[in-house]
Structure formats: structure tokens, C-alpha cells
């Protein structure tokens, strides 16, 4: 962040985030080598506090980026966000993984909200669910997205059905929260587009295709929601939005728990299973973002999803049939030995 132009850091959101990271750095560099369990406990506590504190990073950064559009170019902002978010995912994954393993170590049979009764070690390695079943996850996300949409648009709105096709038995190892976030965003976009387009008769279904190959799994979400507006198209993957900036900015301010102080982590009662179902116990910024009502359009869903997808050497692509609908292609690399995709120092320094 220090390499951002000075003007960027005069923005209060960005400087707030900078301060948070600085503090975190200070804390962690002072932690001595962990030799005993007590050391570990202390370390974990530090981890947890910091994680909590950094929950607001994403919305804040997004707001900051939108606000500094005049002084810093869109491209540079995008590059910066991509780099930062990638390394952030990496750090949080490592941190949360350790915390999860720690938790398992301490209480192997008491796994909050873990659905199955089988020994957790079989299926979960910390945060990673070894046998993500594509079908189940899609169905879950579909349900959740549908509920949210219904809440937002009223109970009488007719929602399109979400139809699954393809290789429905596919399983692969992944971090469920990531996958759920991506799918949630995609489905939410689709649902919204379809609902906003025609409020009357039976809306055409959203088709989700799951296709597996030796090396990867592809999920295609295909809707008939009218496609993407021509004027937004160039800014689809950018954090630096074009024509809808002001609205996005306002909406970002409304994201639940964006508040300057993060007191506690009570999830609203309407989402009893949001943390539990995914095995996610520390609450994450993803959960708070996923829980927002669908008409709160933040404009960061797609670029964020792409970063998450690409983090594990996957990809996210979108094709729009203008006036008709949209196809999103999420490709997930199946082999667990792919390295994480980070922006290295070399790529950052390169012009």
C-alpha cells in the first residue's frame, strides 16, 4: 500500500485500512516462535482478533477506490486491488486454516454446525472440504440466493427455477466458503437480472451445468436475464466503476457491519446457518457480504469472484448475449497441487 500515490492514502477509507495492516504487522512481528501449546493459544488469539478487525477491509477499500477515481487511474486501482486482495486471501486462508486445525485439535468431536456425524477429519482438513459436492453446493447457494431475492422483491415475485444439469456427482477439494461466495454472486446476479426484466409470467429457468474433466470442473450458469448493458460492459471486471459510481459508493456504505468499529460478530438471526453450514466459524467478510440484500448492489461481486476463482488457478469468464441473457463459466482446478496464484514482487514492480 505504501507504493500507492500519496493522494490515494489521503482518502480516509484507504488510510484506515493501511493503519490496520500496519498494526497487524507490528503485532505479528513481535510474536516469538511458537514452542508450546500456550504459545500457540496466544498466537491464535492474536490471529483471531486481527482477522476480526480486518473484516471491513474489502468494503472500505472498495469505497476508497471509488472515491479516489479522480486522482488515480482506473487501471492502477484495479491492479492494486487485485494484488492486495490476492495476498489477503492467501493470508486469511493460512490464518483461518491454522485456527481451524487448532480448533480440531482441541475438540475433535465438537464441531459447531458440522452437518455430518462422521469424524470431521475425514472430510475436512481445517477449512478445506475434501469432497465438495458440486451439486450440493450449487443447490445450497441457489436456495439461499432465492430466499434473499424473494425477501428483497416481495413474496409474490415469481422466481426462476434453478435447474442443474451435467455430471451431478462431481466432487473435488475446495474451500467451501470461497465457492459459495462465487456461486452466490453469480446466482444472485442471474436471479436479479431475470426478476428485474420480467415481472409477470413464468420466468425462464436459470440453467446450471456441471461438467467435470480430469483436471478441472467447470460450472456454467446460464440465464435469460437480458444480458449486460453495453455501457457497463467495459467496467464489468473493474473495481473502478464507470457510470454507476455514485450509487455504488452509497451502497457500500450500507453493507452490514461496515461500521467503523467492529464490536462483535453477531450474525443476524435470519442467517442461522450462514457460518455454521460452511464450517466457517470465524465469520468472514465473505459471509457479511453474502448476507446483504440483493438490491444492495456493490459492484464488486464479479471482480471479487474472479480473484477468488483465480486464486486457486481457476478462472471466471462471462459471455453476454445482449438483450437475451448471460453465461458465466467458472472453472475450478481439481488437482490439489496447484500453487496459489499471487502477485509476486516481480510482477508488482514491473510496469
Amino acid at each position: 500500500m505504501q507504493t500507492l500515490p500519496y493522494s490515494a492514502l489521503t482518502n480516509e477509507h484507504i488510510s484506515h485500512v493501511y493503519e490496520a495492516y500496519y498494526r497487524a504487522f507490528e503485532i505479528f512481528r513481535k510474536v516469538p516462535e511458537v514452542r508450546t501449546l500456550t504459545d500457540n493459544d496466544r498466537f491464535c488469539e492474536a490471529l483471531q482478533t486481527t482477522l476480526k478487525e480486518h473484516l471491513t477491509v474489502i468494503p472500505r477499500l472498495a469505497m476508497g477506490i471509488l472515491e479516489i477515481q479522480d486522482s488515480v487511474s482506473g487501471d492502477e486501482c484495479d491492479r492494486f486491488m487485485n494484488t492486495l486482495l490476492r495476498s489477503r486471501i492467501s493470508r486469511r486462508v493460512i490464518a483461518e486454516q491454522h485456527l481451524a486445525l487448532n480448533e480440531t485439535f482441541h475438540s475433535p468431536w465438537h464441531f459447531d454446525g458440522k452437518k455430518s456425524a462422521i469424524a470431521p477429519e475425514d472430510e475436512f482438513v481445517g477449512e478445506i472440504f475434501l469432497k465438495c459436492n458440486a451439486k450440493e453446493i450449487v443447490e445450497k447457494c441457489a436456495q439461499r440466493a432465492s430466499e434473499l431475492t424473494r425477501k428483497a422483491y416481495g413474496p409474490t415475485v415469481s422466481l426462476p427455477k434453478i435447474v442443474l444439469q451435467g455430471h451431478l456427482d462431481t466432487t473435488f477439494p475446495y474451500i467451501p466458503s470461497h465457492l459459495e461466495y462465487i456461486l452466490g454472486e453469480l446466482l444472485r446476479n442471474s436471479l436479479q437480472a431475470v426478476v428485474e426484466q420480467r415481472s409477470s409470467a413464468e420466468p425462464p429457468p436459470i440453467e446450471v451445468l456441471i461438467c467435470e474433466a480430469a483436471q478441472h470442473v467447470i460450472i456454467r450458469v446460464s440465464d435469460q436475464g437480458g444480458g449486460i448493458d453495453r455501457e457497463i460492459l467495459p467496467y464489468l471486471w473493474s473495481f473502478a466503476k464507470g457510470p454507476r459510481r455514485m450509487k455504488r459508493l452509497k451502497n457500500l456504505g450500507k453493507v452490514p457491519r461496515l461500521a467503523a468499529t467492529m464490536q462483535d460478530l453477531q450474525l443476524p438471526p435470519s442467517h442461522p446457518e450462514s457460518a455454521a453450514g460452511s464450517g466457517e466459524k470465524f465469520g468472514s467478510s465473505l459471509v457479511s457480504l453474502s448476507g446483504r440484500p440483493p438490491d444492495l448492489r456493490l459492484g464488486i461481486g464479479l471482480p471479487m469472484s474472479r480473484i477468488y476463482a483465480e486464486y486457486w488457478a481457476g478462472s471466471l469468464e462471462l459471455h453476454s448475449l445482449e438483450g437475451y441473457g448471460c453465461d458465466a463459466f467458472l472453472q475450478i482446478s481439481r488437482l490439489g497441487n496447484k500453487n496459489e496464484v499471487l502477485s509476486t514482487r516481480a510482477t508488482m514492480d514491473a510496469v
Binding site: 467495459p234 445482449e322 438483450g323 437475451y324
Partner: protein, 491 residues
């Protein structure tokens, strides 16, 4: 044969050369004719394959002429230009205007092509196929030079001029397959990248040149003074009388569904011939959509795409599953503002440059600026999505998808019906040659695949008026192809 592969190639090369023109040396050494050509000496009169060119005047083309013409800037043609002479049938004056306008554009364009060809490595142009194309261009320029100094003022002149145009179109009919062969033979002397770059520019320019010529010819045949004289030569003519939706080669009320059905029938026939089965198409979306576009182009693109889909479907054994084609008309936009060359990472989608979607197969080539620009307030376009279950495109093949001359079609393997495909025709020398020799004939002829030009050329056609082709492969399942076409404008 116990000749090594190199030896085998040389023999094949020699055979082709010997077939091509008897008097040339069957080797890569320069022939005297080629030397003569390069020095700008007058061309010996080439025996052409049809009668009517006997009475076409030619003038000697010197290097000076070429240099002079090539130094002129190319007028960036707009579709308004093509249509500004009016709705047929044209009046005499309008027809003359059209002829003069065409005349003002073509010589410079041809000169540019010649220069571009000449900037290829010497040894590549020495290849008999490539040099044939080169001499074709020089010949065409020579037929236009007599008109260089004067305008076309009389109907008689105009008829002669139209004959020249027809000769131009006819001569260059087989450019693509001949060039393909030439580059295949000369692949040792030029890199695949250079070939792609050259072909991209050349073929796109060719689209323009042919369009200009064909437009004039079509306008000529549909115009009042000539209707009584000429009966049935051009395909447009018989339709002209009934359908006034045509302006030259542009059909202002073109229904993609119609073309798709035609192509389906044609490609289906070939499939039945070759494989014994015929995949079907299911059309969804708004099938009655009509746009203003050039039927010839659309037919080419769709034929190529369907060829790919059909072949993949059959080879994957999924011929019972219909290929789904969705026709999606874009909503009418009042003012379509293109935000310049905004490519996010890679190109793909409607007016490829605007859409932020990614087509992982397409390269990042710069488009030449010689293209025809679509009208500013175009009629809305249409997106056609072709979804097949042919198993998709393997990751290794994906990166070669848009290269000229890359094909996964291999005659021998088809018989064994293996699922793995041969690699680039550039590396499987023998196999590639077989494919080329098996194809023969004009592009879009009776073979199903083999040249490796379908996709890149199809994309060139689509992008010519601001559309594009994007390919999304679901390896293990099928492929989705998104063909976006922008209307060629309100005329």
C-alpha cells in the same frame, strides 16, 4: 517408403510444384519468371481460365506505379459509402458514380496488398503458390491502370469496368486455399507467428477489396438500364427483382435463422456422406430476427462454425443430441458509442473490444485500421450462440485455435475414431499435407474440415463490421460459440 520425413516432403513438394506449372524447376530455387516479375518487367500474358478476359485491357505495372499507389493513404471505408449511391435500381448517373467511387478505392488497396506480399521473405514468395497469388494481384492492378487517368463517363465504359470487376473477383476466388498451400509448403522459411500476422492483415483487407468490387457488380446488375440486358448471371439477380431488401450485396432484412437452416442442410449432407450420420439443430430464442448484413459473409461464418460443431458432435458420438442455437437480438440502441480499443485482457464477445469477457483462446493481435467502419447508429445487432456436446476443445489445442493453418482434422484418424486429435498441422508435416491435398478446390467446398482457416477467417468476417466470435470450451462436455454481429446500419 524408407525415405526419411524430409525426403518424403521434398518429393511431395516437387510433385505439387510440377503439377502447378510445368516449366518451373522443382526446387526452391528462383525461376526466371519470378525474377522477371520482381524487376517489374512486363508480364507475359497469362492464359486465364475463362473467355471474357480476352478483351480486358491491361497495362504494364511498374514498380513505380506500385510504389506510388501504395503510398496513398487508404480511405477508411464506411458502409454509408457503399450504400450512398442509393437503393437499386440505380439511375445511370448513380451507377456511374458508384463505378468511379470504386475506381478511386481499388488501385491503392491492391497496391498495398502487393507491397505487403513483397515484404514477405523472398523465398516464401518464390513458392509457386504464393507467387501465383502475387501475380494475380499484379494482374488485377494491371487491368485497373488503364482507367487510372480518366473517369467513367459512359454506360459502355461502365459495362467494361464491371467486366474488370468480375475478372477481379473471379481471379482471386481461390486465394485462400492457394495461399494456405503455399504457406504450408514454405513453413520452414517463415514462422507461424509471422504467417498469422500477415494473413490476418491480408485476409481482412481482402474482405474489403472483394466487398467493394462485389457491391458494384451487384448494383450494376440490379440497376434499371441493365435489367433487360442481363438475365441470370449473378445469384443476386434473380432475387433482385422480387426482393427490394437488397442493396447490392447487403440484405437489409436478413434472417439468421434462414441462413442457419441452409448451412445446416449443406453441412449435414457432407456429414452423411462422410460419417453416415447427421446431427440436428434446435433453434431457440427469437428466430424471426432480421438484421441488415451480408448474406455471403454470414453464410461463410456459419458454415465454418457448424462444420466444427457437427464434426465434434459426431466424433464424440453425440449425434442424437441436437445442437442448440440461440438467436438473441440486441435491443435497439439509440447511439452506440464504442469506447475505443478497450480490451480488458483478451478479446471476445460483442464488438470484441468493448466486452470485458475473456476468450482464453483468442490472441491479442492488433487489428489493422483498414477495416470498414460500421455506421455510428447501427441497427441493433444479434448474438448467435451455438452450443454443442462435442466434448469441448482440449487445453493444448485452445491456444492454437486462432492460428491460420491449425487444424485437428486428420484423415487417417477419422477412420479410427480416436478421441485425441493430431497436433498442429505445422508439426505433423505429412498429415497436414494430406489434409490440404484431400481438400483441394475452393474454400467452403465439399470437405468437412482441414484447412485450419475456418475459425480465424470467420472471426475476421464477423469483426469486419464490429462483431466478433468468442469460443468457450467445456472440456469434457462441449463447446459454446458466441457469434455477435452488429447490424451494418440503417440505410
Amino acid at each position: 517408403m524408407d525415405l526419411d520425413r524430409f525426403g518424403k516432403e521434398r518429393i511431395q513438394y516437387a510433385m505439387i510444384v510440377a503439377q502447378g506449372a510445368g516449366s518451373r524447376l522443382a526446387s526452391v530455387m528462383l525461376s526466371r519468371r519470378a525474377v522477371a516479375r520482381h524487376n517489374g518487367l512486363p508480364l507475359p500474358r497469362r492464359p486465364l481460365h475463362h473467355q471474357s478476359t480476352r478483351h480486358i485491357q491491361t497495362a504494364t505495372v511498374t514498380d513505380i506505379d506500385i510504389a506510388r499507389l501504395a503510398s496513398q493513404p487508404l480511405h477508411p471505408l464506411t458502409l454509408a459509402d457503399l450504400c450512398k449511391h442509393g437503393h437499386p435500381p440505380l439511375s445511370e448517373q448513380a451507377l456511374l458514380n458508384s463505378a468511379n467511387f470504386t475506381l478511386s478505392l481499388l488501385p491503392a488497396r491492391l497496391a498495398h496488398r502487393i507491397q505487403s506480399l513483397r515484404s514477405l521473405p523472398y523465398i516464401v514468395v518464390a513458392n509457386p503458390n504464393v507467387s501465383k497469388i502475387h501475380s494475380n494481384y499484379v494482374h488485377s492492378l494491371s487491368t485497373l491502370l488503364p482507367y487510372a487517368s480518366r473517369r467513367i463517363e459512359t454506360l459502355k465504359d461502365e459495362v467494361a469496368f464491371t467486366a474488370v470487376m468480375a475478372d477481379l473477383v473471379q481471379t482471386h476466388n481461390n486465394t485462400i486455399s492457394i495461399l494456405a498451400r503455399g504457406f504450408l509448403e514454405a513453413r520452414k522459411y517463415i514462422t507461424a507467428l509471422d504467417v498469422t500476422r500477415f494473413l490476418d492483415e491480408h485476409l481482412r483487407a481482402r474482405i474489403g477489396t472483394r466487398l467493394i468490387a462485389e457491391q458494384h457488380i451487384a448494383l450494376h446488375y440490379s440497376s434499371q438500364p441493365h435489367n433487360s440486358l442481363h438475365t441470370s448471371s449473378t445469384p443476386q439477380n434473380s432475387r433482385e427483382v422480387e426482393e427490394s431488401s437488397y442493396i447490392g450485396v447487403i440484405d437489409t432484412h436478413l434472417k439468421p435463422a434462414h441462413i442457419i437452416r441452409n448451412c445446416e442442410a449443406m453441412v449435414g449432407e457432407i456429414c452423411e456422406l462422410k460419417y453416415g450420420v447427421r446431427p440436428t439443430i434446435r433453434m431457440v430464442g427469437e428466430t424471426e430476427t432480421a438484421i441488415a448484413h451480408i448474406p455471403m459473409h454470414l453464410e461463410y461464418i456459419l458454415t465454418e462454425l457448424l462444420k466444427n460443431s457437427f464434426r465434434a458432435t459426431i466424433e464424440a458420438g453425440m449425434e442424437r443430441e441436437a445442437i442448440e442455437i440461440t438467436i438473441a437480438p440486441a435491443p435497439a440502441a439509440d447511439q452506440q458509442t464504442r469506447t475505443g480499443e478497450e480490451q480488458s485482457r483478451q478479446t471476445g464477445g460483442i464488438s470484441n473490444h468493448d466486452q470485458g469477457s475473456v476468450d482464453s483462446a483468442s490472441g491479442n493481435t492488433k487489428r489493422s485500421s483498414v477495416n470498414i467502419r460500421a455506421l455510428a447508429d447501427s441497427t441493433p445487432g444479434v448474438t448467435i450462440r451455438i452450443r454443442d456436446r462435442g466434448g469441448g476443445i482440449s487445453p493444448e489445442n485452445l491456444k492454437n485455435l486462432w492460428e491460420y493453418g491449425f487444424t485437428t482434422f486428420n484423415e487417417d484418424e477419422i477412420n479410427e475414431k480416436t478421441s485425441s486429435s493430431s497436433s498442429s498441422s505445422y508439426s505433423s508435416g505429412g498429415g497436414g499435407m494430406d489434409a490440404v491435398m484431400a481438400v483441394g478446390g475452393p474454400v467452403g467446398g465439399s470437405s468437412l474440415a482441414g484447412l485450419g482457416y475456418g475459425l480465424p477467417l470467420g472471426r475476421a468476417y464477423a469483426e469486419y463490421f464490429g462483431g466478433g466470435i468468442a469460443v468457450q470450451s467445456l472440456w469434457g462436455w462441449g463447446t459454446d460459440v458466441y457469434l455477435s454481429l452488429r447490424g451494418v446500419g440503417r440505410v
